[in-house]
C-alpha cells in the first residue's frame, strides 16, 4: 500500500473530507467552470482581484478526492498571492504532478507537495490539475475550460 499512501496522503484525505474556501462568492472579479469530460469532475472557481493580488478565492465542485483536495489546497495556497506568483506556482505544481519537477521544491510548493504521488498515476494528473486550469480561465475570466485543451 506504500504507493497508495503516497498518493492519498493524510492532507489530501483531510481536504477532501473538509474542503477549505468552499462556496459561492458575490461580487467576484473572475469566475470559471472547469470540467473533465473523461470522469465528470466539475470545479467552479471564484476570484476577487485587487491591484494584481488575489484577495479572495473560493471553489465549488464534485469529483474524486484528488480533484477536490487539489482545489481546496490551491485556494489556501493562493489567497493573498499575486497573479504572477499564482502562474509560477501552477507551473511548479504541474511539474510536480507530471513527474518533471526540477522546480518542485517544498519551499515553493509547501503543502502542495502532498500531490507528488500523482506522478505515478498518469491518468490522475488531470484530476490534480483541473482546479488550476479552471483558475487560469477565471483569471482570464473565460467562463469555462476543460482538461481536454
Amino acid at each position: 500500500m506504500s504507493e497508495l499512501t503516497e498518493l492519498y496522503q493524510e492532507v489530501i484525505l483531510d481536504h477532501n473530507r473538509k474542503p477549505r474556501n468552499y462556496g459561492e462568492m458575490e461580487n467576484f472579479s473572475g469566475q470559471a467552470d472547469g470540467y473533465n469530460p473523461l470522469c465528470g469532475d466539475r470545479i467552479k472557481v471564484f476570484l476577487r482581484l485587487e491591484g494584481g493580488q488575489i484577495t479572495d478565492i473560493k471553489f465549488q465542485g464534485t469529483g474524486c478526492a484528488i480533484s477536490q483536495a487539489s482545489a481546496s489546497l490551491m485556494t489556501e495556497a493562493l489567497k493573498g498571492k499575486s497573479v504572477d506568483d499564482s502562474n509560477r506556482l501552477f507551473e511548479d505544481f504541474r511539474s510536480l504532478v507530471t513527474g518533471n519537477s526540477p522546480n518542485a521544491t517544498s519551499k515553493s510548493l509547501g503543502k502542495l507537495m502532498a500531490f507528488g504521488g500523482v506522478s505515478k498515476y498518469p491518468v490522475r494528473v488531470k484530476c490534480a490539475t483541473l482546479a488550476w486550469h479552471t483558475l487560469k480561465a477565471a483569471l482570464e475570466d473565460q467562463g469555462q475550460c476543460t482538461t481536454e485543451k
Binding site: E3, L4, C39, A65
Partner: protein
C-alpha cells in the same frame, strides 16, 4: 480438450459450476497469469473489453505468418487462402448467431460502425422532418449520438423510452412511443452500464405489431448469452469482436436479407462494385456491397477463432456458470454495508454497477488497481443512465466466464479496505 467437465475436486469446491473447468480455461488466456503492481491480476473490466485466448492470438499470428494476401481478387494461391479464411469466418459467425444466409453477415469495425451504417443507409433515406427515432434510456453513447446527428440533419426527433428505478425499460411507455410509429427502434440487448437484459422477444413483437423495424446493439450480450436471430426476430443486430474474446477493430452487422437489400451504399470504394466507369457504377451484391475497401482480414480471422472457441465451450455452459457467479457477486457486494448497487433488474448479465459510500469511483478504481484488480470507474459512455440515477459515475465490476468466486472475494475484501481507508 478439457474445458468441459472433468473439473478437479479442488476447483469444484472453489468455483460455482462443475460444468466448466475454469482452471484449464484460465490457462488458455495468457494475460490472466500477469501480475499487476506485484499482485495477481483480477480482471473485472470485461464489459469494456475481454481478454483473448491463445487460440485467437495464434489464428491471427498464423494468418499473418502463413496466409496473408488480399481477398476476392487474386488468381494466386495465397489470395485464395485468405479469401477462404475470410469467407469461412463469415459462415461460422452466421451459424453462431443463427443467421439464415451468410450474406446477412456484414463485417464492420465494431458495433459503433454498424449503428452508423444502419443510420446512414437504412434510416436516413426514409427520414422526414417531424419523424421520430426511438431509443431507450439505457443506451451507450454509440446508440444515441448517430441518431442525434441524423435527427439534427433531418429535423426529426429522438423519442427515449424511460428507465424504471430498477434499471429496466418501461415497456408500457415503450408501447406508447411505438404507437407513434417511429422510423426505427434502436435498443441494446444488455445494458453496458447496469447489466440489464432487455426482454427482446417482447420488444421486437411490440415494435413489429406497429410496423417499426428494430436494430439491436448486442455488444454486451454476445460474451454472455446464446444469441439466435431466428428466436429474437429483430431486423438488425450488431456486435464488436473485442467484447467477445476476439480482436479489436472488427465487428458485425447482421441484417435480415430483405432489410439489407434495401440499404443504400455506406461507403464507396473497391470490393463494393461490379464495374466502374466515369458514366456510372454497378454495385456489387451483398454482403460485399456494404464492405468497401480491403477489409480487416486478420480481424475477421481472429473473430472466427473466437467464435470457434465459444462454440467449443458452448454458450449455454457459459450462461449457467456466469449466472451462478454473478448472483454470488451481487450478493457479496450488496452485503458490504457502505455499498449501494445501481440497477437491480430482475434479468441481468455480466455487470454489477455500484457506489462505495461517499468515495468517488475514481478513487475506488485507483485503490483497486493497487491491489491488481481492474474495474471501470466512470460513466461507462452512458451519461444519460448516470443522470437517471442521479450519480456522476459508478464503479463497474464486469465478469466473463474466466472469472472465479475467489476473484469476487478478492474484490469484496478490497472494497472493505476502501471504506476503511477513506473513513
Amino acid at each position: 480438450m478439457t474445458r468441459l467437465g472433468s473439473t478437479p475436486p479442488s476447483a469444484q469446491s472453489a468455483n460455482p459450476s462443475a460444468g466448466l473447468n475454469i482452471d484449464f480455461i484460465r490457462s488458455e488466456f495468457p494475460v490472466l497469469a500477469r501480475k499487476i503492481r506485484g499482485k495477481q491480476l483480477v480482471y473485472l473490466d470485461n464489459a469494456a473489453s475481454t481478454q483473448k485466448p491463445q487460440q485467437v492470438i495464434d489464428a491471427i499470428s498464423n494468418y499473418y505468418s502463413q496466409s496473408h494476401s488480399n481477398v476476392h481478387r487474386g488468381v494466386h494461391t495465397l489470395s485464395q487462402e485468405a479469401t477462404d479464411l475470410y469467407e469461412g469466418a463469415r459462415g461460422r459467425v452466421g451459424k453462431f448467431i443463427g443467421a439464415q444466409d451468410t450474406r446477412e453477415i456484414i463485417f464492420v469495425r465494431g458495433a459503433t460502425e454498424a449503428i452508423n451504417l444502419v443510420a446512414h443507409s437504412f434510416v436516413r433515406p426514409l427520414l422526414k422532418p417531424g419523424d421520430e427515432i426511438a431509443i431507450s434510456g439505457l443506451e451507450h453513447h454509440s446508440n444515441i449520438v448517430p441518431w442525434q446527428l441524423l435527427c439534427e440533419e433531418k429535423g426529426s426527433k429522438l423519442a427515449v423510452i424511460p428507465v424504471t428505478d430498477n434499471g429496466e425499460i418501461d415497456t408500457q411507455e415503450m408501447k406508447k412511443i411505438l404507437a407513434r410509429r417511429p422510423r426505427i427502434l434502436a435498443i441494446n440487448h444488455v445494458s453496458n452500464a447496469l447489466g440489464t437484459v432487455n426482454p427482446l422477444r417482447e420488444i421486437v413483437t411490440a415494435a413489429h405489431s406497429e410496423g417499426v423495424p428494430v436494430m439491436v446493439d448486442g455488444a454486451q450480450a454476445m460474451p454472455h448469452l446464446a444469441v439466435d436471430m431466428q428466436q429474437l426476430g429483430c431486423d438488425f443486430y450488431c456486435f464488436s469482436g473485442h467484447k467477445m474474446f476476439g480482436p479489436t477493430g472488427i465487428g458485425v452487422l447482421y441484417g435480415r436479407l430483405d432489410m439489407l437489400e434495401s440499404l443504400v451504399p455506406y461507403q464507396g470504394g473497391g470490393d463494393m462494385i461490379l464495374s466502374v466507369s466515369f458514366e456510372g457504377t454497378i454495385f456489387n451484391e451483398l454482403p460485399y456491397r456494404l464492405e468497401a475497401g480491403t477489409p480487416n482480414i486478420a480481424g475477421v480471422v481472429g473473430l472466427g477463432a473466437a467464435v470457434d472457441y465459444l462454440t467449443g465451450i458452448q454458450m449455454a455452459e457459459i450462461q449457467d456458470y456466469e449466472d451462478t457467479l454473478c448472483s454470488y457477486a451481487l450478493e457479496r457486494i450488496d452485503a458490504i454495508p457502505e455499498v449501494r448497487i445501481i440497477g437491480k433488474a430482475r434479468h441481468r448479465a455480466g455487470v454489477v454497477s455500484f457506489l462505495v459510500g461517499d468515495v468517488h469511483p475514481h478513487d475506488v478504481g485507483t485503490i483497486l488497481d493497487q491491489k491488481g484488480i481492474a474495474v471501470r470507474a466512470g460513466h461507462h459512455c452512458a451519461q444519460p443512465v448516470m443522470e437517471r440515477f442521479g450519480v456522476p459515475a459508478t464503479v463497474r465490476a464486469s465478469f466473463a466466464f474466466y472469472n472465479t468466486r475467489q476473484e469476487v472475494d478478492t474484490l469484496c475484501e478490497a472494497l472493505e479496505d476502501v471504506t476503511q481507508y477513506f473513513n
